[in-house]
Symmetry: C2
Subunit: 334 residues, 2 copies
C-alpha cells in the first residue's frame, strides 16, 4: 500500500510516523512553508481550551493528552515535554469572576497570592487568585517537528501540491492545515494569531502561566533554555502582519503578570494561522475512497497530534474506523 500525505506540519508528520511504524510505504509532500506549529507555544491543555466546545472534542483532547508522554518518549530526543503543570491566574477581581466558574468545574482548589508566589516567586503581587493544573503540560512544537523530520528522513519530498489529482498514491491523506480548504473545498478558515518569544536567563518561571489579565487571555510558556513564549491574539483575519496593537496587548499582559519580563529580550514576533472549522473541531476521516482528511485542528493541533496519528493510521493501515471518528467526519457541514 502506498500513502501520500499532503502537508509536513505536526499533524502530517505524526500520521506518517505512525504509518511507517505499521509498515506502510509513506511519502510526505511538503511545500516548505512553516505551519501553525512553528508559531504555536505547545500548551497541552486537554481541558483548558474546551470550555465552550462539544463533549466529543473533550474526549479527543483527553485521549491525546494521555498519549503525549509515550509519543514524546518515542521520538528518542528531548522535545521539551514537561509535566510541571500550569498555573491558571486572574489579575483583577473581574478576572477572578471570569475564571472562577471554570476552576470550579475542574474542581481545582483556588490558591491565594502567597501560595502562587511560593510556586512562582516572579509573579506580580497584584495577581488576585489562581489554581495549579498539574495535567496541563507543555511540549516544544519546533522540537517535535524537527524530531519527526529526523525519523522520516528520505520520505519527505519538497513539493507544493496544487491539486489532489497530481498525487500518485492509492491513498491521499490531506493534512495541510489552512491549505486543506483549497485542496478539498472543505470549510477551513485561517484564524490569525500573533505570538512573541522572549529570551532571558533560564529559571525565571517553571510553570506554564495561563491567565486572564484585565479581561484579556494570555499565556506564558517557559522553556528550559530561558525562552518564554507569549501568546496569543485570536483574530478572524488572513493577513500575516505583526501589528503594534497585537504586540502591545501581549507585552502588557506578560509584564503585568511577571514584571521582571520587562528586562527580557523581545527575540521573535511571529504570526500563524490556526485552521478553524465551523464548529472549531477537527475534520478527521474519509472524504472519499481515495482521500482521507486530518485537518482543521484550530488551537489544538499540537495537543491533538498523537490521537490524530493513531486514529488516521488505524483507519488507513488497518481499515479500522474508531467510533470517535464519526463525531469529526469531514463531510459533517454539507
Amino acid at each position: 500500500m502506498s500513502v501520500a500525505i499532503v502537508g509536513g506540519g505536526i499533524i502530517g508528520l505524526a500520521i506518517a510516523w505512525r504509518l511507517v511504524q505499521r509498515g506502510v510505504d509513506v511519502t510526505v509532500l511538503d511545500d516548505g512553508e512553516t505551519g501553525a506549529w512553528h508559531v504555536a507555544a505547545g500548551m497541552l491543555h486537554p481541558g483548558g481550551e474546551s470550555a465552550f466546545e462539544g463533549p466529543a472534542l473533550g474526549v479527543l483532547m483527553n485521549r491525546s493528552a494521555g498519549l503525549w508522554p509515550d509519543f514524546a518518549a518515542g521520538l528518542g530526543v528531548d522535545v521539551g515535554y514537561d509535566g510541571t503543570g500550569t498555573l491558571g491566574l486572574a489579575l483583577t477581581a473581574d478576572d477572578v469572576a471570569e475564571r472562577a466558574r471554570w476552576w470550579a468545574r475542574q474542581k481545582l482548589p483556588v490558591l491565594r497570592p502567597s501560595e502562587l508566589r511560593e510556586r512562582e516567586p516572579a509573579l506580580s503581587p497584584r495577581i488576585r487568585a489562581g489554581v495549579h493544573a498539574p495535567g496541563e503540560r507543555q511540549v516544544d512544537p519546533r522540537r517535535v517537528v524537527a524530531a519527526l523530520r529526523d525519523r522520516l528522513a528520505g520520505r519527505i519530498v519538497a513539493k507544493r501540491v496544487e491539486s489532489l489529482d497530481e498525487v500518485q498514491a492509492g491513498t491521499v491523506v490531506v493534512a495541510a492545515g489552512c491549505g486543506t480548504a483549497r485542496l478539498t473545498g472543505l470549510p477551513i478558515r485561517p484564524v490569525k494569531g500573533q505570538v512573541l518569544r522572549l529570551r532571558g536567563e533560564p529559571g525565571l518561571l517553571r510553570h506554564v502561566l495561563d491567565a486572564t489579565v484585565d479581561g484579556r487571555e494570555v499565556y506564558l510558556v517557559p522553556r528550559a533554555d530561558g525562552e518564554i513564549v507569549v501568546g496569543a491574539t485570536q483574530e478572524e483575519r488572513t493577513d500575516a502582519t505583526v501589528t503594534a496593537g497585537g504586540v502591545l496587548d501581549l507585552l502588557r499582559a506578560a509584564v503585568d503578570l511577571v514584571p521582571q519580563l520587562a528586562e527580557h529580550e523581545l527575540a521573535e514576533t511571529t504570526v500563524g494561522h490556526r485552521p478553524g472549522t465551523p464548529d472549531n473541531a477537527p475534520l478527521l476521516g474519509r472524504l472519499d475512497d481515495r482521500v482521507v482528511v486530518a485537518a482543521g485542528h484550530h488551537r489544538n493541533g499540537v495537543l491533538l497530534a498523537p490521537v490524530t496519528a493513531e486514529l488516521i493510521a488505524g483507519l488507513v493501515a488497518d481499515g479500522v474506523a474508531d467510533p470517535l471518528l464519526a463525531e469529526f467526519a469531514p463531510g459533517r457541514f454539507r
Copy 2:
C-alpha cells in the same frame, strides 16, 4: 593636503563632503557597522532637546537647523527633509504641567484638543493640550547617509581602525561616535536607545509628534511612505538588546497618542547607542597637531551634522577656528 576621516556615519560623511567641496583629498575609513544614524528618527529640534543644556549648545543647534535646508537640497535627492513642523503634546494634566513651562519659554500658543485634531485628525481625544512648533522639522537619516555615500563614492574605504597610528594621513578627523573613546581616550559613553518602526498606509500623520504620555517622553516621526518611527528609550546601558519593557513603553505611548496605530505593522525593532559626553555636548576641534575630533553628539547627531561639517571643514581646510569651537573643545574635561 590629505585628510583621513575615521567613521562613516552621518558626521564623518558630512565633514568629508564639505572637505571634498573645498578641494581636499579625503578618505573615509568605515568599519561597516551601522551607527546611531541608522536608528535615529531624524527629528531636527533646535530647541526641543536643549531645555536642560547650555546656551552654547543652543546656539550650535540653531545654527545647524538654519543650515539644514541648503544641506538637504545640496544632496540632490529627496532625503525626507520636511517642514510641516512638530506638534508638542501632553496627554494628562500632569503631562501638561510638565510641558507648560517649556512651551511658555518658547512662546508657543497652547492649542486646545479640538485645534490639535484639526491639524492631526488621528490624535486621541484624550490628549489635553499641545503646541505647534513650525521650526522643529525632520529628515530621514538613512536617506541622508545613502545620499552622502553616493556623493563620496570611491573615497570610502572599508576598514576598522584599531589605533590612530595606523592611519596614513597628514590630518586625521575622528568622527567615530561611541568608538571615539577607544581611539582617543576621550570620555564618550554609549547611551542606549530603543526605536521602533511602524508601517501602514501613508497619510495617517503629517506632523512630527513629540509628547509626554503619562510622564514618559515619546516621539512619532511620520515618513511620506507610511513609515512611522517611534522613539526612544534612554538607558545608561551598553547592551544592544531589544527588551520587552522598552518595546512595551514605546508601543503603549504611541497607541495612547494615536489609537489607529494599533493596526500598523511593527516592522522594525532596533537599538542604537548615542555617544554621550560628561556635559552631553559634542567634542569638536583639535586634539593635537594631527588629530581633530568631531564626536559625542549624543541625541543631536543628525541635527548637528551640517554645522559640524562647516566648522570642522573650515578648521581643517582653511585653518579657521570659529569662536564657537572654543565651547566644545575636546580637551575640556581634563
